[in-house]
């Protein structure tokens, strides 16, 4: 090296490849982004097969596939494009569609953040459904019990009630895990069914029921002052909830990355034994993280009641509890990932509703697509094998057992 014309390359003598080439090699290198995109594509393919199976005209055409394969293919293609077309336009096709997408995103984002927080501490909070119900119950109660309060007092009060109720419900599996070692997957799942039955009972009590004597299992309507205000005109349902949810995502990101508590959460998530040796009280943290997780999920329930429904019905919650788990997994437990994943699933849900109305294909298709997507994301090796992507070493995590 006698002359120094340019800065020498740091290792090896190869010149840096051009930007497009680098982009290309990054895209095919089997990283998280590529795997997620391919997983998404694969999930849509599985969904397409199910659409064809559920479309009678397409299935009839397949009976004669040997005679006229073209008809079978074109019938199937029509079924798939009309279903996915309806889904896409229902998710993004108009101002109303975008508003509905954001409305569906809000509880998913909040509940997904809650599940992801527990996830980062190594806990599986699959009690999202129960915590949602309790959160909604708390917010509804606070929403209709007080009249004439200013919104600056009433709304925070109702949100707090939702958070406290959801947190209390998640405290149970947390304390059981810390005190007795009972696995949170089973206890929180059982509490979902308890909460569902509790909801059915609460709604026919005279304190909650809309009518007296109670004829329908539906709650009183929450007061005007406790509702989340609309943010895009009164004819669109999108409300302050989505803004608050984004703020909470930033808050959780700060908590995980910048605070001592978040550091401890991540420690017990990566290796609880090592964290214990390092002087972290794992038992206390299990309780704390489960309660915080439940508070976030409870807020998701509060947001739905105070922002959209304004009253509580027995069918409350639906699959949001389960969706929150898939959102958290798809987002790899990071707040930004959860935000993107919940936006995707929110679009799926609002698009799926439009699809159900216009093509008659049930909304549950969306659940199947989500599940397949997450299944592939959880096992990137499968995607790499299907699409023959080369494997990068050392990126695999090895997971533990019942703990």
């Amino acid at each position: 090296m006698s002359t120094q014309v340019t800065a020498p390359p740091e290792d090896g003598a190869k010149p840096r490849p051009s930007a497009p080439r680098r982009l290309f090699s990054w895209m095919i290198s089997g990283n998280t982004f590529t795997v997620t995109v391919l997983a998404f594509f694969s999930a849509l393919v599985v969904g397409a097969v199910i659409i064809v199976l559920a479309t009678p005209s397409a299935m009839t055409a397949w009976h004669y596939a040997l005679v006229s394969p073209g008809t079978a293919l074109s019938e199937s293609w029509d079924a798939i494009t009309s279903a996915y077309g309806a889904l896409l336009s229902g998710a993004l096709g108009s101002r109303q569609a975008i508003s509905e997408t954001l409305v569906s995103t809000t509880p998913l984002l909040m509940a997904g953040l809650g599940v992801a927080l527990a996830f980062r501490a190594g806990l599986f909070n699959i009690g999202g459904e129960g915590q949602l119900i309790l959160g909604a119950m708390g917010a509804t109660w606070a929403g209709f019990s007080f009249r004439g309060l200013p919104i600056l007092v009433h709304l925070p009060l109702a949100l707090l009630a939702g958070a406290v109720a959801g947190g209390a419900w998640a405290f149970i599996p947390g304390i059981l895990k810390a005190r007795t070692g009972a696995h949170e997957v089973i206890t929180s799942m059982m509490l979902n069914y308890v909460a569902l039955n509790l909801l059915g009972w609460v709604l026919i009590q005279k304190e909650f029921c809309a009518t007296n004597p109670c004829t329908d299992a539906i709650s009183k309507v929450v007061a005007q002052g406790s509702r989340l205000p609309h943010i895009a005109g009164s004819n669109l349902r999108v409300n302050l909830g989505i803004v608050l949810a984004v703020l909470f995502a930033i808050g959780v990101a700060w908590l995980l990355q910048r605070s001592t508590l978040g550091f401890e959460f991540r420690m017990i998530g990566l290796n609880a034994d090592a964290a214990g040796v390092a002087g972290v009280s794992t038992k206390r943290l299990y309780v704390v993280v489960m309660t915080m997780s439940g508070m976030l999920v409870g807020l998701a329930g509060a947001f739905s009641v105070l922002g959209v429904d304004y009253q509580l019905s027995p069918a409350y919650g639906g699959t949001t509890g389960f969706d929150a788990i898939t959102v958290a997994i798809l987002g790899h437990g990071s707040p930004l990932g959860v935000a993107l994943a919940s936006l995707l699933f929110g679009a799926f849900i609002s698009g799926g509703r439009a699809m159900q109305v216009s093509t008659g294909i049930p909304l549950q298709l969306v659940v199947v697509i989500q599940a397949v997507l997450v299944l592939f994301v959880a096992a990137p090796g499968v995607i790499r094998t299907i699409y023959r992507i080369k494997v990068r070493r050392g990126a695999e995590r090895v997971f533990g057992g019942w703990g």
Partner: protein, 426 residues
């Protein structure tokens, strides 16, 4: 978590008891059950009231009904729970702590029944028969779980295996008008879900709990999708299978009380009994069982002596899926004869709890399944009695019992050492 219950000797010869805390917790749980029995039930019953347990239903030999003084009986049960609690605390060599807790929960349920039925008659044979019917899918699910977990793979997909199997069993049995085709389809469907779990968890080493939960969501979405599209429009042709009818085992079904309760049932009950025997012997007294347990406890050692760890695990996960599939089929062609969306209602997770409560042993799993089945059956028996409890709370009983059972003992039971850990050769 390691070692069995009871004191162990340290190097210096001191006897220490590593389970003192947990024994204390279970003892407290039993104590709480005892006190609750006395305060909630015994005190609420006026003296001189009797609860009549009807015992003769369906049996050829007449058995007189037993009328017990309700107050004294619940009081006695409360005291027995307290004594069990003290025994649990003092009996350091107890190898079967769950048994005591299980007895405690069952006694509490019995006291509840005595209180609920005060001054009335209780159809005891019906209660036992319903408990057994409710226990069947739980036992099969728990078998599925332990077949997988004994080999080191966590199977949370039991709920999903149940649902898909229940769906396909109903559909194919109605299409072909042959029940056994439905049963086979259910078993095969469970096996396929097991295969998917195996591919993702063993071959691609994905997190087993995540894969299991996602498979459950997948199964729920898929079956609900087809139930609302395909089955809804073709109820007659696709969703109205006949069901397996009970048949009595000669002689045994004439035994009072247990005869009609156990030996006059449909094929699924007998499958459970046969599988119980096969698994108990297979796991602990055959070469197959030794290999399965070796792979689940210490895969590297098993590999060293030439056992193919991952193939063994894959075979077990598929077998577990088949067993859960049979359990799933029992939901439709074994009882109501129709598939309904989400008809398993979390029983797959309760089955998992039964497996844990049963200490990863077949006989324990069956006893735990019977306990949960009994708690489940209670709601039907109690709902016909005149009791001031809302039905919603009665429905909660099995779920709450599961939480109490799992919380009361874990740490005292030991999962297979390599449970949930993927194996790779170095």
């Amino acid at each position: 978590m390691s070692a069995v219950a009871g004191p162990i000797e340290t190097a210096s010869g001191q006897r220490v008891d590593p389970f003192a805390h947990r024994r204390r917790d279970v003892a407290i749980a039993l104590g709480v059950l005892g006190v609750a029995t006395i305060l909630l039930f015994a005190r609420a019953i006026p003296s001189g009231v009797h609860t009549t347990f009807e015992l003769s239903g369906g049996s050829a030999i007449h058995v007189p009904s037993i009328a017990v003084p309700a107050r004294a009986a619940t009081l006695a049960i409360g005291i027995v729970c307290l004594v069990l609690g003290v025994a649990e605390y003092l009996w350091t060599a107890n190898r079967h702590p769950n048994l005591l807790l299980g007895i405690g929960i069952a006694l509490f349920a019995l006291a509840f029944l005595t209180w609920a039925g005060k001054g009335q008659q209780i159809d005891t044979v019906g209660l036992l028969a319903t408990s057994l019917v409710e226990a069947v899918p739980l036992a099969l699910g728990a078998f599925s779980g332990l077949i997988c977990e004994r080999s080191g793979v966590i199977n949370i997909a039991i709920e999903g295996e149940f649902l898909i199997a229940a769906f396909l069993a109903a559909m194919l049995a109605s299409l072909t008008h042959h029940l056994w085709i439905g049963l086979l389809a259910g078993a095969a469907a469970g096996g396929v879900v097991g295969l998917i779990l195996g591919v993702f968890a063993i071959k691609y080493r994905a997190d087993q709990i995540i894969v299991g939960i996602v498979l459950d969501a997948f199964a729920l979405g898929l079956t609900t999708f087809f139930a609302t599209s395909l089955l809804n429009t073709n109820q007659q042709t696709l969703n109205s299978p006949s069901t397996y009818l009970p048949f009595g085992i000669p002689v045994l079904d004439k035994v009072p009380i247990i005869g009609p309760g156990i030996f006059d049932q449909n094929i699924f009950v007998y499958i459970v009994i046969l599988l119980l025997i096969a698994l108990q012997i297979g796991l602990f007294h055959t070469r197959w069982g030794l290999r399965v347990r070796a792979v689940g406890e210490h895969p590297r050692a098993a590999d060293t002596v030439g056992i193919r760890v991952n193939s063994r695990r894959m075979a077990n996960v598929i077998l577990g899926g088949v067993v859960a599939g049979i359990g799933g089929a029992s939901f439709t062609i074994g009882s109501v004869g129709q598939f309904q969306a989400n008809m398993t209602a979390g029983l797959g997770y309760i089955a998992l709890a039964a497996m844990i409560f049963g200490g990863w042993r077949p006989i324990g799993a069956v006893l735990a399944a019977l306990l949960f089945g009994f708690c489940d059956a209670l709601q039907f028996t109690v709902s016909v009695l005149n009791v001031p409890i809302p039905p919603a709370f009665l429905t909660m009983i099995p779920y709450l019992a599961t939480i109490v059972a799992v919380a009361g003992l874990v740490g005292r039971v030991r999962p297979p050492a390599a449970d949930g850990r993927p194996y790779t050769r170095e």
